[in-house]
């Protein structure tokens, strides 16, 4: 079998090789060479290192503050719930419709923040106290009867 791999190169083939070698393949463009240079010789500067360190520190700080905030929220007391018709919740007598309205107001306030609910409750409490004080200033019938027998 005439296997071309087994025989040595002929003179013509050697000449052909030499002819092929005399042709030079085109070189890479300057842009490509510059791009390779940039990719291989680029070293991170101290500015880049500082920038990265600052970015990482910021991320850590944000993560820690979120964690602390979450823990604080868990430690806060459970906000007071408002049950319709509960005697201690409302210090003033209100009609049924008014009661529903008041409950809705409290629920909205609670949804906003516990602080706003507290503010409303305190306002109610102050109002109730001032009403009581006004009531106490009105002379009682018994007192009147003593004064005017």
């Amino acid at each position: 079998m005439n296997d071309p791999q087994q025989r040595p190169l002929s003179l013509e083939e050697l000449a052909l090789e030499a002819q092929l070698r005399s042709m030079a393949p085109v070189d890479l463009s300057t842009d490509a060479q510059i791009s390779i240079k940039n990719r291989l010789e680029h070293r991170p500067t101290s500015f880049h290192r500082v920038k990265w360190a600052a970015a990482i520190a910021a991320c850590v700080l944000i993560a820690m503050s979120l964690l602390i905030l979450q823990q604080v929220r868990h430690q806060q007391p459970v906000p007071r719930s408002i049950q319709p018709g509960h005697a201690s919740t409302l210090s003033v007598d209100v009609a049924n419709d008014d009661k529903q309205f008041a409950i809705a107001t409290y629920s909205n306030a609670l949804a906003q923040s516990p602080a706003s609910l507290d503010a409303i409750l305190q306002r109610q409490s102050r109002k109730a106290q001032s009403d009581e004080a006004n009531d106490s200033q009105i002379p009682r019938i018994r007192d009147l009867s003593i004064a005017n027998p």
């Binding site: 296997d3 071309p4 791999q5 190169l9 013509e12 083939e13 052909l16 090789e17 002819q19 092929l20 070698r21 005399s22 042709m23 030079a24 393949p25 085109v26 070189d27 890479l28 463009s29 842009d31 490509a32 060479q33 791009s35 390779i36 240079k37 990719r39 291989l40 010789e41």
Partner: protein
Amino acid sequence: MDKSTDWKKWLTEHGPTMLLLVRQWVSHRADAEDIVQEAFVRFWKSRHRAADPKAYLYVCAKRYLLEWLRAEQRRGRREQDKAIERSSISTPLFDQVVDREDHRRLKASLGALPTEQREVMILRIWGGLSFLQISEALAIPLNTASSRYRYALAALRKNLVEESIHE
């Protein structure tokens, strides 16, 4: 141990051959240059792992070329490339400073060779690789590399003789 700037020597020596090899598969020069660029950077960063850096350079080139072709196929551009692959040999692959008639005929004959024979020829003639290195770079048996080269030379000679007879 390689110095950090030795890459220039490697690129000067092998860049044109890498480009020629890649352009057997990729018709657009800009795409081919991108592939060479990426393959060369990958080679340079991992060259310490290779027992034979010269063969490994072309392993990187071929490997990244195949990756790129697969990605292109997914993008549906491969068919378009196939259509113009045959005509790619007409775009300048060699320096045309000396535009000789025998060079023109050689280039045409080279373009008519099967791609697998052309690859071996490029690595042998312009890359200066041994058959062992070629077999490693193209992941083919040593005998296959050697015989492809012989068949390529024989085919080239035959083409050139036929052309001279026609003239």
